[in-house]
Symmetry: C2
Subunit: 526 residues, 2 copies
């Protein structure tokens, strides 16, 4: 079998025939789309034929440690990307340094297309989450990419990188950053390569922006955007990060949830007490905290805090329609996660993501397991995260929770309570409200440039695209709006079961090559 | 000032005069009690005069490490006690070895008094709680006894052991075991010494039993009691362990609460989830657990579990009367602990101890503080302890909690849930019911021998004794009933703020010498 045949076999014959059928329709009825589709197919073929070189470069990239704790490693990654861009003839390749000395730079490059009417900036990030190699599966090293015949969870086995460059879609490469988000960098730069090596030109001006601090909270992104405002002008940022839909279908995401935190600590006796001598007389901070947290939700998983669901900006008709068309993965996910009921009864996963949420990240008081002792602890603590949707303000949302706590009779402080406070108040809680909250962001699906994006990606997919008004995660996309007055849209490519942020991160080969194709379609937008 | 004067000054002049006044009354109206009082006074004087030797022997004893992890240290302690007994002419001094080879022995000795009608066994334990030296105050070593001018919490400073043997009552000796329970061993053996060195004889046969595994859960006490049943016969065990009343008054305790445990683990998703992608859709085990635990108590601190307060044996009229006369320390303790309200509203500490309790020892899910992350944890766990009073059965009490959990819709397992269980049940909890529960025990205050005990200790106290039907803690006193059909009564001597089981354990000098006097009074019972 030729390389092409193998890839198509893996994509599935159905896909193969279906796509040809789509091409036929395109050809007959929509000449423009058809022309674009042919260009995309040519580029895809180029990528397939050059799989060996693409994967070699990609695994070399994955071998470079890219965690925040290793600045020298980050420098090597940035240099590697600059070399990738130079090799492809991209112009003005440079590091964009934040104004804070020593902070990690972004990597920039651009391609100006004569006569182009629009400019797209492609974003990905080259840094990865911290790694704990001991948690990775046996034989895996986060920075020694390995090829597997399938997901390890699906009994995939370690195989050699094929000498003939024939890769199957279900194969996976395991390494930190494999999907989050070096796959984004690779998909973007190889898409450009695939277009130019086929003698074609992009439909618009292209800019490339690869961040090096995303997993560390994009601490200096604001400085970079402000400092390089003039060269970062565009009509749209394409954020290539995150996973495709759990159904495996391609998706475009138009916004992100916001996020903020509250740290709560309830205080009781100043010293640990013997539960026999004082049990049921002295207050137990763990019991106080569980009653407080329990009061925040009803038995149907709805937050009971006053006004919690107020000031949500309703979805537009387009967004509502898109949401209705999102394929249901609820049953699939329940099975995958080993749960048989959801928290918010009667609400789908897609609907849940479009509502503000309250979640206990952690709770701790005294000791459990072998360390448990017959004591009444002195304090109990919990961390809450509040996810926000459009219309919520993170400070206002925090305040609603604080007001609820007050309404339960608590005296609220932001310090360890002093003796006078202890003597005065029956219920004392320390509330530390996180100061790094971010609000939700959502780009209208009805903008002309967004319609072009949807049309472009649609040509690469046999199935209807999943259009998500909001993704569950929180990214500081508001910074692009704030510093550049720019629009953003997220076009993810990774498989949903990529273990991002955890051990055994991986990218499915099919997703990498589909991702290249997706990026090609966007670069051809006119 | 003479030694006697110093001690009396420290006891307080009021006490001094009050006691003389009590002696006068005794002399006029109750010739027997008066004679006994004179004997006690003589013995007390002996102890005061010999404070130097008593403290020297005591600090040498405290210098011997006595923790479970150090069997060689335990042997040295046992040998030291045998030497103390031999020096005092106590007979049949021997180790009582459990039938389990290598287990820690108890130390035994006896004194048969011609014509005695009764036999009392004096119990104390020579082992101590584990130590973490780094938690002790600066300059303190758990096994290098040091003298302080007062409690460290009350700004006591380290002073030299006085060359002239003049000790003040408020002084404290800091060391592991200083109060729990080497003070018990020292008080008992020095009481015997004080009687015989004054040319007197005990009023009854005396047996001495010093356990070496109390802090390790008295694991082999059953074996010792069974194996040495014949020599351990008595009319009453005097348990010299624990603190006097928080008011500083001497107390006699007639029973202990029982105790049992439940370990609870609520399960949700099999893998940790991103709280943005799944928050409010996927169940949060911490929220499930807080709602479950919160359902177990109402806002007045009453346990809401069905039948929880049933099958409690009511207090007898004597016990009710005694309970009413227990001095209230509630306000004192609230101030000391830094709390301004109690858990069970409208119930005093003494009343609370006479009711079964439910207490959260510890709770844990996900991470808090700097380790917190935006996740939905996979499980949440808590440890509950249930204190029991007379009439409760530990297995039955566990079952009430389990039935309550079931009534909240939980499927209960004692293993990690399998996939089939996860697919079938919305709410899954693992319940591990502790198998080492002990029931409460209470000795009637109306027994003739108990009346003698109360009368004897009364002669040593200017204030009314505190008679506690039940103490808060749980001791395996039921073993004495089970294996020997024996009665027990607890006569503690340590100061209540002795930091037992924790860092900076200490004994107040006044409590040690008052304790000797208390033991003298008991040994003179006829």
């Amino acid at each position: 079998m030729s390389k092409r045949q193998i890839i198509n076999l893996a994509v599935g014959n159905q896909f193969h025939f279906m796509r040809n059928f789509v091409f036929l329709l395109s050809f007959l009825f929509v000449q423009f789309v058809s022309a674009q589709s042919s260009a995309i197919l040519a580029a895809r073929n180029y990528a397939t034929k050059n799989a060996d070189a693409i994967i070699k470069e990609f695994t070399e990239f994955l071998s470079l440690p890219n965690v925040a704790a290793d600045p020298a490693g980050q420098q090597k990654n940035a240099a590697f990307i600059m070399a990738m861009m130079n090799k492809r003839g991209i112009q003005k390749v440079q590091l964009l340094h934040p104004s804070t000395a020593g902070a990690v730079p972004a990597v920039y490059g651009e391609v100006m297309v004569p006569g182009a009417k629009q400019t797209l900036i492609f974003y990905a990030h080259y840094d990865g989450q911290p790694v704990n190699p001991t948690q990775w599966a046996k034989g895996l090293d986060p920075f020694q990419p390995k090829l597997f015949s399938n997901s390890i969870d699906k009994d995939g086995i370690n195989i050699l990188f094929p000498a003939d460059g024939n890769y199957l879609n279900e194969w996976r490469i395991y390494a930190r950053g494999a999907s989050d988000d070096k796959a984004g960098v690779a998909a973007i730069l190889n898409a450009y390569d695939a277009i130019t090596k086929n003698g074609m030109a992009p439909g618009c001006n292209l800019k490339f922006f690869f961040e090096g601090e995303e997993e560390a909270g994009s601490t200096h992104l604001n400085e970079i955007l402000e400092k390089y405002k003039s060269i970062l002008q565009s009509d749209l940022w394409i954020i290539c990060d995150g996973p495709v839909h759990q159904s495996g279908q391609k998706q475009i995401v138009f916004g992100v949830r916001g996020d903020t935190h509250l740290d709560l600590t309830v205080y009781a006796s100043k010293r640990p007490l013997h539960s026999g001598h004082y049990g049921n007389w002295a207050p137990n901070p763990a019991m106080m905290l569980v009653k407080l947290l329990g009061s925040m939700k009803d038995d149907n998983g709805r937050v009971t805090i006053k006004g919690f669901y107020d000031d949500v900006t309703p979805l537009t008709p387009s967004e509502k329609k898109a949401l209705n068309e999102v394929p249901s993965v609820d049953e699939q996910m329940k099975k995958e996660l080993g749960i048989s009921a959801v928290e918010m009864r009667g609400v789908t996963l897609s609907e849940a993501i479009n509502q503000p949420s309250l979640n206990i990240n952690g709770i701790q008081s005294g000791n459990v397991g072998k360390m448990a002792s017959n004591q009444i602890p002195t304090y109990a603590t919990a961390v809450l995260d509040l996810r926000l949707v459009l219309g919520n303000d993170w400070k206002r949302q925090q305040q609603k929770v604080i007001d609820h706590i007050k309404a339960q009779g608590y005296y609220i402080t932001n310090n360890e309570p002093a003796d006078e406070e202890r003597n005065k108040y029956a219920k004392i809680i320390k509330v530390i409200a996180g100061q790094d909250g971010i609000n939700a962001q959502r780009t209208s699906m009805d903008l002309p440039i967004i319609k072009k994006v949807i049309a472009a990606v649609t040509t690469t997919s046999k199935n209807q695209l999943v259009l998500q008004p909001t993704m569950g995660g929180s990214l500081p996309l508001f910074l692009f709006e704030k510093y550049l007055n720019a629009k953003t849209v997220t076009v993810p490519i990774a498989n949903h079961d990529n273990n991002q942020h955890a051990e055994n991160e991986n990218i499915r080969i099919g997703n990498l090559f589909d991702g290249i194709e997706t990026m090609v379609s966007l670069m051809l937008i006119k």
